[in-house]
Amino acid sequence: MEKKVINVKTELLKANDLIAKDIRDEMRRRGILLINILSSPGAGKTSLIEALIDRMRDLTLKVIEGDVETEKDAERIRNKGVEAVQITTMGTCHLEANMIKQAIAGMNMDGVDILIIENVGNLICPSGYDLGEDLRMVLLSAPEGDDKPKKYPKAFLTSHVFVITKSDLIDVLSFNPERATKEALEINPGLRVFKTSAVTGEGVDELADYIRDELEKKRGEAPS
């Protein structure tokens, strides 16, 4: 019996990252801005998407919904007149690039401006998986508490945008948006921070404008 050491040096997520690269290449070719939204369950991902849809009626948006079970979130988006594909992960706590690739293959991407992925509600597992997105957006709702960024550093470390949601509840809770922002920026000083409420509409226009700018920027960079 001959013994041998194989110096593998392979990242466990290599297969995922290769598929994510394919998705990124396809989105670049098509000039579509891809957004991946992360948060814990109930932080208001779907409500924020609904609010953004209302402010971006001039653009063509599509949505991929990730949930462990049910089509409820996709139905909410469809009620807004926007195409939504539901991925039910049947127990898996995050979306992987191959799930997104399959979902995209079943959608008509002609004329699409922005594709939004609503990840499974979970601040831990989804943060390890690149889905080929241009923007990763992490949400933290006021009821969750302002001390959460450091408890879930990976989500903040890997995101481009930090959105505080349910800002209409800040006054009745002991949530300090400055503290949450300070913690998030210590982890990732490059984060763009927004404070929003899907109920009052606070901050949603600003976020929508930022997303429009990112779409323009991407299309400006894309080879013609």
Partner: protein, 114 residues
């Protein structure tokens, strides 16, 4: 709990190498897990024990090395281990920093019998 998914990824990579090198048995697997990887070392170990049954890694021992984060300041070049998850340079306060180590989820090497 995505550690089971990660160990299934590990199994794929091991199987690929077993075929490539025509190995008979896998005896030892060395994994590097960064503290910023988002994976929990203890959960990876339990996932390994569950996943390995009936597979090519059934007899393999898992050695897991935890990698501390190391960050480099792009402004002054200082290398530091971030305390309390602060990634701003403690020397010059620059926000322009890059993570050098700590994000690994790396199958470093494996020992096999041929």
């Amino acid at each position: 709990m995505h550690e089971v998914s990660l160990i299934l990824n590990l199994l794929d990579i091991v199987e690929e190498n077993v075929r490539k090198f025509n190995a008979k048995r896998v005896t030892h697997i060395y994994l590097k897990v960064g503290k910023l990887s988002g994976a929990e070392p203890e959960l990876l170990k339990s996932a390994f024990e569950v996943v390995k049954k009936g597979t090519v890694i059934e007899d393999a021992t898992l050695t897991l090395e935890v990698i501390e984060p190391l960050v480099k300041c792009l402004n002054c070049g200082y290398e530091f281990s971030p305390e309390d998850m602060v990634f701003i340079c403690p020397r010059c306060s620059s926000a322009e920093t890059r993570i050098l180590k700590g994000e690994e989820l790396l199958l470093e090497k494996m020992e096999v019998e041929k």
